[in-house]
Symmetry: C2
Subunit: 230 residues, 2 copies
């Protein structure tokens, strides 16, 4: 990890890319940016570990990361896949709780770190800002309940297909190594691999390395509909 001292305004520009900060007026943003830090992380480095005090809200402005939860038996499960721009650890930072999970960079990342005190002040001064943060959290809750509803549901191929469709982009790059995406979807790497093979032949999806492309969206939707139930 390396902390940068960027020119004034640079941090503010990065802030502006983040949800919840986009809606802020420019002067408030600059005020916050003045007290924030810019940090660089390298692939594989941890943004934070379970149990760490939440000293700052992190805005992931470049790169991607995975959030891991450690189970009693020591195994780790991917519970989130993060792609910039996105907020991380906003809730524990506000409530003062310890961080409940570990986050690891999937590639080199740039992060805007906003110290807890600065964030809490911002919420106190501007309740609307608190509501914007809540909107972000709401989104996260939605995603989680969706993921939960999806889990154990459908066969592996349909689950993967639904996830690709939910990415809402005709083409793109997997936000993590396949084994981590597999873990996130609750599958073994082998099953994930086979599921992709099925989607290639029947689902109108092209996958090469970590790049994917939806060749035939309607074919994919049809495939999902014909594999609705478990």
């Amino acid at each position: 990890m390396k902390t940068l001292q960027p020119a004034a305004g640079v941090v503010a520009r990065h802030l502006a890319t983040l949800p919840a900060f986009r809606g802020l007026n420019a002067s408030d943003r600059e005020r916050i940016a003045a007290e924030a830090f810019l940090r660089m992380y390298t692939r594989g480095e941890a943004l934070f570990h379970v149990g760490d005090p939440a000293t700052a809200l992190l805005g992931l402005v470049r790169g991607s990361a995975r959030v891991l939860r450690t189970r009693p038996d020591g195994q780790e499960k991917v519970v989130h896949l993060l792609t910039a721009p996105v907020l991380v650890a906003e809730v524990p930072t506000l409530t003062g709780e310890a961080l409940p999970a570990t986050a690891v960079c999937g590639e080199d990342c740039m992060v805007v770190a906003i110290p807890r005190t600065v964030l809490v002040d911002a919420v106190r001064k501007d309740p609307e800002f608190a509501l914007r943060i809540l909107a972000v959290v709401f989104d996260r809750l939605q995603q989680l309940t969706r993921a939960l509803a999806r889990h154990g549901q459908r066969n592996a191929a349909a689950r993967v297909g639904a996830w690709i469709l939910a990415r809402d982009a005709p083409s793109g790059v997997l936000p993590a190594a396949k084994k981590d995406v597999a873990d996130y979807l609750g599958l073994q790497p082998e099953t994930f691999s086979r599921a992709l093979a099925v989607l290639r032949t029947e689902g109108g999806v092209e996958v090469e390395g970590d790049a994917f492309r939806i060749l035939d969206r309607s074919a994919l939707e049809r495939f999902l509909n014909t594999h609705e139930s478990s």
Copy 2:
């Protein structure tokens, strides 16, 4: 659904049982209570439906309910099991989003409904209150990520055992019909039933009807440890 006109102070007393409102000082609580409603629902009745506008925060003060998410194919999945006292729909109420799920009473319920405007005012006037709400939301996020991490993990019996252990009570009553608990845990009713049978013989757990009791906590923990992996 039936709306009551209780004596002054009654609503305030119910409010005081709810997380996030407990910490409020008495006068603020009374002010909010004066503008809140008390509602009674009967078993099987819906507290709200997906897509409804979130007009009020609901404080479930008596009874229990299940929160359902409808999948594209029309099937429903239990994503939360609620037991009083607990807040429902606080986030969409604050952010003004539509309700993302449906909630159905598992038994007769009593609910304190706090109109959106009253809640938003309270948050605006008292940032500390906003943070307390965030703490509640944080808890929910935690539960969801835990549930997600648990899902697809371990065999059925271990998953059920872990859930019972997480209830954190030596004995109690299932918060919903077995089929709904099963659904919540991502299992078929039959599998759930068999899992309970295993826990009875090997896990030191007694189950009769909807009542359960942990006869031998260490036996249960040992059982879970020996069935760690999937």
